[in-house]
């Protein structure tokens, strides 16, 4: 197990950030727009250099051993980083080849199956829906079984169904032992998925813990009786579900 610790300053975006992530867990970094979540991800994935402080990913320092870091991680950026002109299968084969896997076609087909994209394998990605694109994106990040995967706002801009599809994939990931580093601005997403949640605000981590620990930071829950109305999301999904049957 290797965690990561870091503190650095950068244009006031990040003002001394420290945290650690346990292997095999889902870690959610919560923060509002512009809080610096993506900056943290970029530093950890060796795309940006920090001004000061140190970060270690899977035991390798991001500044002195970026090659080793890249070997052990995978990034799913904020925008689905897929090649629109290629087909889903070609995208996966391309990544498998870049990871120097021997049976790239087989790896690609397994991923397509696992993410329910087999039927769309030969279609150009430009014809995919937002949810399919994200699933392909995530599946591309899993090629070569990296120990740690970064998901930067994986559900931004997705419809409710797409979000649920992505959540399912993320849970599967963690079940198979991959460490997931997730950033999000949706509170329910962190609540649904994460083992540990850290809140980034004003360039610092202001809270860090499990959901239960965070709850304890607040006064004990008051018991109130509230009529339980279905949320619009529940209504939407129920109607759609009916239509499909």
């Amino acid at each position: 197990m290797k965690g990561l610790k870091k503190s650095y300053k950068q244009l006031e975006v990040l003002n001394g950030v420290d945290f650690e992530v346990k292997q095999g867990s889902i870690f959610a970094l919560l923060g509002s727009n512009g809080a610096g979540k993506t900056t943290i991800v970029k530093i950890l994935t060796t795309l940006l250099k920090q001004d000061s402080g140190a970060a270690t990913v899977n035991g390798f320092d991001v500044t002195s051993e970026p090659g080793r870091v890249r070997q052990s991680i995978s990034l799913t950026g904020q925008f689905a980083a897929v090649d629109e002109i290629l087909t889903g299968q070609e995208n996966l084969i391309m990544i498998a080849k870049l990871r120097h896997l021997k049976n790239s076609r087989q790896v690609a087909d397994e991923m397509l199956k696992r993410f329910g994209l087999t039927d769309a394998a030969d279609r150009r990605v430009s014809t995919y829906s937002g949810g399919m694109r994200r699933r392909l994106d995530i599946s591309m990040s899993l090629v070569g079984k990296p120990e740690l995967i970064f998901l930067d706002e994986p559900t931004a801009g997705l419809d409710p169904e797409g979000r649920i599809e992505v959540w399912k994939s993320v849970k599967q990931l963690a079940d198979s032992g991959t460490t997931v580093f997730l950033t999000t601005e949706y509170l329910d997403e962190a609540e649904q998925l994460a083992d540990r949640i850290a809140i980034l605000h004003d360039g610092r981590i202001i809270a860090n813990g499990t959901l239960a620990e965070l709850r304890n930071l607040f006064p004990p829950a008051k018991v109130e009786y509230i009529e339980k109305q279905p949320s619009l999301e529940e209504i939407f999904l129920a109607i759609i579900g009916k239509k499909e049957k």
Binding site: L47, R70, L75, G77, F79, A81, I85
Partner: protein, 256 residues
């Protein structure tokens, strides 16, 4: 680093394959690149050409090298555009966060530019042959022409890489290519430089396109190219080295 180097060629090959697919799935880019110079060639041969005295009998022979250089310059704007799209769509970030030699992304685009230019140049030469291009070059002269065109394509493509990496918007990305497209007009490509007024002719004599065009004139006519070929190659390689260095700097700046 060892492993990165070991895989440099196979990674570049994957990138090349990717970007070739892009081109073959949008043949319109190759056609657009070939059509504009062909139209220019027809214009010069059938409209202006009658009034231009180049001192040689066949004006198609005279005009072709300049037309090819214009084709190369205009096609490199597509390289810049594709690179810009890669950056915008985030796929460049994915590649850069993977354990591959980072420059392979650029090399993939550069090789693709070479191949697509080779195709459009062949199309243009075929059209030229139809309208009366009659070269008397031997195999070695043709080879020399190919080398010059290839090195020039590489130089302009690396300039395109700089533009693609530093552009802020998709509209701005192709702007760099206009001066490059225009350069052959102020050279010996369409009219002999002697007919130009002093300062213009001085510029024309001392810019890269004139020695390149003159060399190609001589080579295609089956004559020895003399010192011109070395001046031409020196320009090509000089621009190539400078453009490559700046492109790599621009790329590093993106990473830091």
């Amino acid at each position: 680093m060892e492993t990165l180097k070991k895989h440099f060629f196979s990674d570049t090959d994957v990138m090349f394959g990717r970007s070739v697919r892009h081109i073959t799935r949008s043949m319109d880019t190759i056609i657009t690149v070939a059509v504009m110079p062909i139209a220019l060639m027809l214009l010069f041969v059938y409209v202006f050409g009658g009034a231009i005295d180049t001192g040689t009998g066949n004006y198609v022979n005279y005009v072709l090298p300049g037309i090819l250089l214009i084709a190369i310059a205009s096609s490199t704007s597509y390289t810049a555009y594709r690179l810009f799209l890669d950056m915008q769509q985030g796929i460049l970030e994915r590649f850069r966060s993977m354990p591959i030699a980072r420059s392979t992304v650029l090399w993939g685009h550069v090789l693709t530019s070479l191949v697509s230019n080779a195709i459009s140049i062949i199309i243009i030469i075929l059209v030229a042959l139809i309208i009366g291009f009659r070269p008397s070059a031997g195999i070695s002269s043709w080879l020399a022409v190919a080398v010059i065109l290839a090195v020039w394509t590489l130089s302009l493509t690396w300039i395109a890489v700089i533009a693609g990496l530093s552009a802020k918007s998709a509209d701005g990305v192709s702007g760099f290519s206009y001066p490059l497209i225009f350069l052959p007009f102020i050279s010996s490509a369409f009219v002999p430089t002697a007919s130009m007024p002093g300062p213009v002719s001085a510029f024309a004599e001392n810019q890269p396109v004139t020695p390149i065009v003159d060399t190609m004139h001589s080579l295609l006519a089956g004559q020895p190219a003399g010192a011109e070929i070395w001046i031409a190659l020196a320009w090509c390689l000089g621009v190539l080295v400078v453009a490559y260095i700046f492109a790599m700097l621009a790329y590093k700046r993106k990473i830091a």
